[in-house]
């Protein structure tokens, strides 16, 4: 039977990619291990190796095709003794194969889906981008708008600030020659050179300390952690050195530094690579903690963070990197740190969230609207200092609140939100504040368990209905 070659998943978060180039043509003999094609993901261009042997009977997806979904058949191989023409003619129309567990990264091996394999859950999927999200009220009048990914918005923010101020530099693992483990620093080395875009060894504790030391002299480092999970190695320098020195020095020694990188769960990377540290850092006086949801906030907030004279924890999200939003052009587009944003006005309930939690909040709000519940959705954007006033003003209007985060429930950011509302607006509440959080377990690997561990739109909807007594 002819074998379908499927579009492989080449990273934990890849859902589709571009078939950049075929390296074999129809009629070619293929041996196991041959490089047959190049596939471009949002992170890198990868070579695809053949697993099966035979004759390449038909190419189903042509060179240069974009947005090819994972598991779509991209070619057919006629195995030994099979009629090549028959195999080619019998090829299925290219549509995604039934959901199966994604092949592990990074070695791309096309596999034939096994029809009678036990059912495997589809991995948890972050809700699609909410249609109702519109940040344009904060855009400068008349600014040209470009549609760009969060990844590119972050890159542009750094590049613009590095052009503006020679004291700004970026250091971290793979930020320079590799162009960023998640491509966030792409092109910076080429523009700014190796003195300002510095590859470090894999020694977070040491290079975080070096960054802080440089910042104490007045330089403005951007320290990239490949993920904030690895910043645990460096957390002493972040907290004991960066956050406290201004106070301990009686105001003499400021520390203008940005620690940034992806935070929280990606997809199927298990407990040590999925931790959400928002609540941890938000506990520390002396730090500011910023966590954008959209591309324009990512850009405007990162630029503000780089200009800020204090140590900033800037929490990104791997899954959001590839999401695109409208962003105004211009070097002076800043979003102030410490200001929440009402991203969807409503009257019946307030949903507060931040970062990737916004995908659940907005998804739920859209669904609830169809049932006649108008939710006001607030994106905190900065966790410390927390703009609780915006939340309180909303709760005074809606009298109900659901707080949403991916982090753990105990001592979480949503716990803080609930307490602050109780302190400031208890008499306005018609129902206890509810929260939707990640479950109180280390992140599991199995697709079904991971899905259960993360929040979802359904949980937010249920919480909203509970506080609305519906």
């Amino acid at each position: 039977m002819p074998i379908d070659i499927l579009m492989p998943a080449l990273s934990p978060t890849m859902e589709e990619g571009k078939l950049a180039k075929w390296l074999k043509k129809e009629g070619d003999a293929i041996k196991s291990g041959d490089i047959i094609a190049e596939i471009e993901t949002d992170k890198a261009t990868m070579e695809v190796e053949a697993v099966d042997e035979g004759i390449l009977a038909k190419i189903l997806i042509a060179d240069g095709t974009e947005n090819v979904a994972v598991n779509t058949p991209i070619a057919v191989i006629a195995t030994d003794g099979e009629d090549v023409k028959a195999a080619a003619n019998g090829a299925a129309a290219p549509k995604p194969a039934p959901a199966a567990e994604k092949p592990a990264e990074p070695e791309a091996k096309a596999e034939t889906p096994v029809a009678d394999a036990p059912a495997v859950s589809a991995p948890a999927t972050v809700p699609a981008q909410a249609k109702s999200y519109d940040a344009s009220s904060e855009f400068p009048a008349g600014a040209e708008i470009v549609h760009m990914t969060i990844r590119d918005a972050l890159r542009d923010a750094m590049a613009e600030e590095m052009r503006r101020d020679g004291d700004v530099f970026v250091m971290g693992e793979e930020v320079a020659e590799y162009q960023g483990a998640y491509k966030v620093t792409q092109g910076l080395l080429q523009e700014f050179g190796p003195k300002r875009v510095i590859d470090t060894p894999i020694t977070e504790h040491g290079f975080a300390g070096i960054g802080v030391g440089a910042a104490l002299t007045g330089l403005k480092p951007i320290v990239e952690f490949m993920t904030f999970n690895f910043a645990m190695q460096a957390i002493d320098q972040i907290i004991n050195s960066a956050a406290k020195t201004l106070y301990m020095s009686g105001g003499q020694m400021g520390c203008s530094i940005v620690f940034r990188g992806p935070n929280g769960a990606a997809a199927r990377v298990a407990a040590q690579h999925s931790h959400d540290y928002t609540a941890w850092y938000s506990n520390v006086p002396g730090l500011k903690v910023v966590i954008p949801y959209s591309a324009s906030d990512a850009k405007g907030l990162l630029k503000s963070a780089i200009r800020d004279p204090n140590p900033i924890i800037f929490l990104e999200n791997e899954i959001l990197y590839g999401r695109s939003f409208d962003v105004p052009k211009g070097d002076d587009f800043l979003i102030p740190i410490g200001k929440a944003k009402v991203v969807r006005p409503g009257t019946d309930v307030t949903i507060v969230s931040f970062g990737i939690g916004m995908t659940y909040a907005l998804g739920a709000a859209e669904a609830l609207a169809k049932e006649g519940i108008e939710a006001e959705v607030i994106d905190l954007r900065t966790i410390r200092p927390m703009d609780i006033e915006t939340v309180i003003a909303s709760v005074q209007k809606t009298n109900r609140c659901v707080a949403v985060e991916e982090g753990f429930p105990q001592s979480g950011v949503t716990a803080e939100i609930g307490m602050r509302i109780m302190e400031a607006a208890f008499d306005y509440l018609d129902a206890p504040v509810a929260r939707v959080t990640g479950k109180d377990v280390p992140m599991p690997y199995a697709a079904n368990l991971e899905k259960l561990a993360l929040p979802n739109i359904g949980e937010v909807i249920a919480a909203v209905k509970a506080v609305c007594y519906r």
Binding site: F169, K195, T200, P201, T203, H205, G206, F207, A208, G209, I210, G211, V212, G213, A214, A215, L216, T217, G218, L219, D236, Q237, N240, S241, T245, L246, Y247, M248, S249, G250, G251, Q252, M253, G254, S256, P285, G286, K288, R307, D308, P309, N310
Partner: protein, 363 residues
């Protein structure tokens, strides 16, 4: 220079050499023909070193006394016995070179020229303290004097000090970072992360390991697989040498080599200063882990201040009156600092809420 660790002029640690420093009389009067290759100080240099070390000694004694009186709280780590290290290093440094150390930091601050009133008032937690009373013994800073603390987490200052050197390199301002830490900190992981990056990027940093033989109560031999700290950078290709840290001349001599190495773009350099603290680790340490004899022997035979004093009287024929005048001047400064620190008011309560974050960048 060769990467191999040098072991020169460092008798203080070994029993065989324990009596060496005072008896060898290395420098002849006038210093025109030294008997050994021990570096020689001019009279002015000896006087300077004497004054600086004495100031630290008297200041620390006073701090100890004030702690006993309840005027100083919390932790208070005294530098008594180790004075030659920072004084000798500072004699080789030039304006703009940055200094950073751990929590045994009063001596470093005084040697950097920070006001003794401000240091003492910080120890007593008063508003005139260098950190407005908010840092205490372990946390003082002076941008003006290029002193970057004052750090309470063992080893953290090594990465920070490497960062200071990074800034020097980034700005290409021809200054170096003098990064001090102890034999205890020398076992921390981030020290080696810093060594690696410092050498990889050829950062202008001198790592000064003040080996006072005890990490709190743990003797070096009980905590360190490699007790020759000058070798700790060997695998990175960082040169190092052991130095008699009780002899201010040896310290300055080694410091000049090390600083020159760093300043001329050759990267980091390690100086193991073999020194000794007379007091306990902190005020509450009875120091039962070592014998009274050991302390007594160091004080009598290797005291850094007595060595200079001896040379001043013996080689430079300084009279008792002149020495007494210096002593009196130092006491006056220290007493004035103590007086100030005793009567200066505590910080205004509004200070609780200031200096947490900056509103605007400094000009």
């Amino acid at each position: 220079m060769a990467v191999a660790a040098r072991k020169t002029k460092a008798p203080a640690q070994s029993k065989a050499a324990a009596k060496g420093a005072t008896k060898s009389n290395p420098a002849k009067s006038g210093a025109d023909k030294p008997l050994s290759n021990m570096p020689v100080f001019s009279k002015e240099e000896e006087l300077h070193a004497y004054h600086e070390m004495l100031l630290i000694r008297r200041f620390e004694e006073k701090a100890g006394q004030m702690y006993g009186m309840g005027l100083i709280g919390g932790f208070c780590h005294l530098y008594i016995g180790q004075e030659a290290v920072v004084v000798g290093m500072q004699m080789a440094a030039k304006e703009g070179d940055k200094v950073i150390t751990g929590y045994r930091d009063h001596g470093h601050m005084l040697a950097c020229g920070m006001e003794s009133r401000g240091v003492m008032a910080e120890l007593t937690g008063r508003r005139g303290g260098l950190s407005k009373g908010k840092g205490g013994s372990m946390h003082m800073f002076s941008r003006e004097k290029h002193f970057y603390g004052g750090h309470g987490i063992v080893g953290a200052q090594v990465s920070l000090g490497t960062g200071l050197a990074f800034a020097n390199w980034y700005r290409n301002d021809n200054t170096v970072s003098l990064t001090y830490f102890g034999d205890g900190a020398a076992n921390q992981g981030q020290v080696y992360e810093s060594f690696n990056m410092a050498q990889l990027w050829k950062l202008p940093v001198v790592f000064i390991i003040e080996n006072n033989r005890y990490a709190m109560g743990t003797a070096v031999s009980r905590a360190s697989a490699q007790t020759d700290f000058s070798k700790r950078g060997l695998s990175f290709g960082i040169p190092g040498e052991q130095v008699d840290g009780m002899d201010v001349r040896a310290v300055r001599d080694a410091a000049e080599r090390a600083i020159e190495h760093a300043r001329t773009g050759k990267g980091p350099y390690i100086l193991e200063m073999q020194t000794y603290r007379y007091r306990g680790h902190s005020m509450s340490d009875p120091a039962k882990y070592r014998s009274k004899d050991e302390v007594q022997r160091m004080r009598e035979e290797h005291d850094p201040i007595e060595q200079v004093r001896g040379r001043l009287t013996r080689d430079f024929k300084l009279g008792e009156d002149e020495l007494k005048a210096i002593d009196a001047k130092v006491r006056e400064v220290v007493n004035d600092a103590a007086e100030f620190a005793t009567h200066d008011p505590e910080p205004d309560v509004s200070e609780l809420w200031t200096d947490i974050t900056l509103e605007k960048a400094r000009a």
